[in-house]
Assembly symmetry: C2
Homo-oligomer: 321 residues x 2
């Protein structure tokens, strides 16, 4: 916990995910003056435990009396979270997320908590069923900076999200199970005997990653056979390095297969002269940049924490005060 | 254990897999006169335990003195099995598997055990690294019946194998991780909350299965997003049935996505007027027939047990006697 509180606290920003919770104390100008975090995510809390956990983190920052607004995004607003903030359907202007916020009843009176909604997409001609909860606030952070933003945005992760933005509104989005597929295959499948640590920290690993991305992007129908091919390669390929590098090369290849499958779906028939905006942690976004560059796309990068804070700030400004 | 031993035992056929073991007592004419099985597969045995386990199953059948040959296919011949029978490289005539058999040293002198080899494929222009161990004997069973067989054969399962046969020789094969992908996704991923029992036993399930096969076969790049789409559909789709049928429909859809991905790779640019031969258990082969018919292919069916017995018999006949 840090607290550089020379300036007075104006409001609190919270990103409350499935497995952790991060809170930032904000001043009137939108600067961070304190921050704290815990591992009490949605999966480890009952509805009546959220208020105490929040107070545990932020009470050192609170002024003696005046009321403080708390903007919360993420899984705290899920049905199985603190209280459900129902999904807003796309298309949704990203500056209007706070219109779908719900206010849970609190035992104390100092806080006024707003749980922001996620977004949903139901089936229509060009769309399929999909949901997001948390990423919409990062997308709002992009729009906070560029209100009329239009373009394709990727938020890589366990469940990677690709969103199409048009003049600051999200019109369509698609979730890929990439990170989860990688984890399951690397740790639970027949491949677990072959897969080592995945860091892309030497040239052999980077080459294996890029090759795999390119192969599956060009021929996504080969994804499943290339998975088993990793195991067979480990058994048969006399050119594979030995020792730790062997497992690292095969891990890089598995990561490339999983990301290549995502890109083949997400970039299909996209003109390659439109750069793709990546939002997320730096290492993962660098990996996606390598992959996207390899198949002919340029990228822009926006840090995930910067984006979520900017999105929460935009939502806070949009509250009726 | 059954034993209808009015006729004398001539030899013993054994299919020794990762998780179980099946043995058949054969007479001189190639008829099954006894059979037995156990759950002592390769994964639960050390090398020096195989002989005792085999004797435990077949000693009631053995004559008082004369030597008995035992033909074994499957994982008992893997490096981590009884003793390694090194992979034969493709192309390999399927009538010649016994040329790669190894004979483990035994403590007793009545048995003469032959462990059949698997097949391997190393990278070349049109091929990739791949291995099989067990399925080659089922393919030999097909060739036993039709020595000059040419065509495409599918052995569905945890790791589905697709083999191209040319005049009784296997020239190329590809493994798809289909069954394992299904299991991991159904039981370990975010989808586990949505997936029920998968039996395709009503028309809604069969329709969901067929639709999913067709969608992914036509657009394999959508596989990963359609996976997450199952979860979103469970959250959002008001037209989904409730109760047990809901989970069954979503399970059918997941099965269709996994099999559709396999078919998109295996059938690509195959002329649809060549029937595909399916070898395996009846229920699974019926499911693959539904899937293949939906995308325009006809199938032939050969029972998996019949095939493995015929293959072991072919290998036994080919031993120098």
């Amino acid at each position: 916990m840090t607290n550089e509180q020379s300036r007075p606290l104006a409001w609190v920003a919270v990103d409350w995910g499935s497995s952790n919770l991060r809170a930032w104390g904000m001043d009137q100008q939108g600067n961070v003056i304190a921050q704290s975090s815990s591992d009490k995510g949605m999966l480890s809390l009952k509805p009546d435990e959220y208020e105490a956990e929040l107070l545990h983190l932020i009470s050192p920052w609170l002024p003696a009396s005046s009321r403080v607004e708390v903007m919360v995004c993420g899984m705290a607003g899920a049905r199985q979270g603190w209280q459900e903030a129902a999904y807003l359907p796309v298309p949704t202007p990203l500056g209007q997320l706070s219109q779908g916020a719900v206010m849970p009843t609190l035992t104390g009176s100092q806080l006024r908590v707003y749980l922001l909604p996620g977004l949903s997409q139901t089936r229509s001609d060009s769309r399929h069923f999909d949901v997001m909860r948390g990423e919409e606030t990062q997308l709002a952070g992009l729009v906070a900076d560029t209100p009329e933003f239009s373009g394709l945005v990727c938020l890589p992760g366990t469940h990677s999200k690709w969103a199409t933005l048009d003049s600051g509104a999200i019109t369509q989005f698609t979730t890929y199970l990439t990170g989860e597929l990688y984890q399951l295959l690397a740790t639970q499948s027949v491949l677990k005997h072959s897969i080592g640590s995945d860091a892309l920290n030497d040239s052999a690993c980077r080459a294996a990653f890029i090759d795999a991305v390119s192969e599956v992007n060009a021929a996504p129908e080969t994804f499943s056979s290339r998975l088993f091919g990793l195991r067979a390669q480990d058994l048969l390929d006399s050119e594979l390095p030995v020792g730790k590098t062997r497992g690292a090369v095969l891990a890089a290849r598995l990561s490339g297969l999983a990301i290549g499958l995502e890109l083949s779906g997400a970039c299909q028939s996209r003109p390659s002269d439109e750069p793709i905006t990546l939002i997320g942690n730096q290492a993962l976004c660098q990996r996606y940049t390598m992959a996207l560059n390899a198949i002919g796309y340029q990228t822009h990068y926006l840090d995930g924490d910067t984006a979520v804070l900017a999105g929460l700030k935009l939502a806070h400004q949009a509250l009726p005060h």
